[in-house]
Symmetry: C2
Subunit: 175 residues, 2 copies
DNA sequence: ATGACTAGGTTCAGTGAACGAACTATCACG
DNA sequence: CGTGATAGTTCGTTCACTGAACCTAGTCAT
């Protein structure tokens, strides 16, 4: 969105948040990062985002301290983008948006999230209704729902078909 | 954002939600509507949004059932835009975004929200920590914080300086 | 050492959306 | 009959997104 300049006059934390995460694609990049996507190419094929936009978003999110660029191998040199506390702190907002979308516009259930400790489905803002507390993302298990395409074209979507804990890096099947 | 077409391939309720509310300005229009703004001109002066964009957003939100256009006087004919349940259901997501913005980027506290029943500050997703439940918006009192400009130029910002319940229509001081 | 391949970008022309100023329509009021 | 308010529409400019092509560094097989 490049909400930048105009939103500055808004005197509101919501506007402030949207200046950072309100641009097109940004929240989906963060969502993917929380799901365990870490590499440029994996974001690229999973989101279907233009390369230039992805590069710009990753750089901006890194500068804002929402992602962290980290060297994970030296030869050839390769970096991955991993979430920071700031990205994790966005999970309740993302969860609330997702629940709203599903309840008001969703035809089928695409993914469900449950608390690993007790198997209860995570509530609207990332809490476990049974345990009555917001659960850390490491304890959230993401499961494919009935509405999900069972044979997606891209390897990242295939990797996300298996039940997995959030934040755990995805394992992409080699070709 | 016009997130439209591309997000459709995303198979995700978050992407679905962003197709509706992810465009530039849209979430701020909904925020204002929840604060009690109802008229075209009030949105206009408070947001500083281009007229054409505001008209497009109001029409889209009406078509999506998030706002409802309602005739409030016949002569001259005047309509106002009032929130529906779909807009109210977005409150936890907006609250979560606002809290994230304040905690990670806010310098000062601009507004606080408290539960009218008990005076406790509303939590990150619209709940009252003392009452341990999500409180209806009618029971949320919005209060100006120390970071807010005490003498804003536009009448809508001035109207929002007084403590008021959410959803209650704003009262703009006549010139 | 040569060519193919991969990861992670940058560059660039075309397009679409946002911006801001000007203009229009309708009605009330004096 | 002119002025002012509300709620828009129109239009030229600017800016961001898009998709395709290109680039760089390093690995691997021949």
């Amino acid at each position: 969105m490049a909400l930048g300049k105009d939103y500055a006059t808004q005197e509101c934390s919501i506007a402030g948040a949207l200046e950072i995460v309100g641009e097109r694609w940004t929240l989906l990049v963060i969502r993917d990062a929380l799901y365990g996507v870490r590499r440029y190419k994996d974001f690229l094929v999973h989101l279907g985002i233009p390369r230039a936009v992805l590069a710009a978003r990753l750089q901006m999110l890194t500068e804002e301290g929402i992602l962290e660029k980290r060297r994970y191998q030296e030869s050839p040199p390769r970096d991955e983008y991993v979430v920071t506390d700031r990205a994790i702190a966005l999970w309740p907002a993302l969860r609330a948006l997702g629940r709203w979308g599903r309840e008001h516009y969703g035809k089928t259930v695409l993914r469900t999230f449950e608390h690993t400790e007790c198997g209860t489905e995570i509530g609207s803002y990332g809490e476990c209704p049974a345990c009555a507390r917001v659960v850390p993302l490491e304890e959230v298990l993401m499961l494919p729902g009935p509405g999900l395409d069972p044979h997606p074209a891209d390897p990242v979507s295939r990797a996300l078909l298996k039940p997995k804990r959030l934040l755990q890096p995805i394992v992409v099947d080699q070709v």
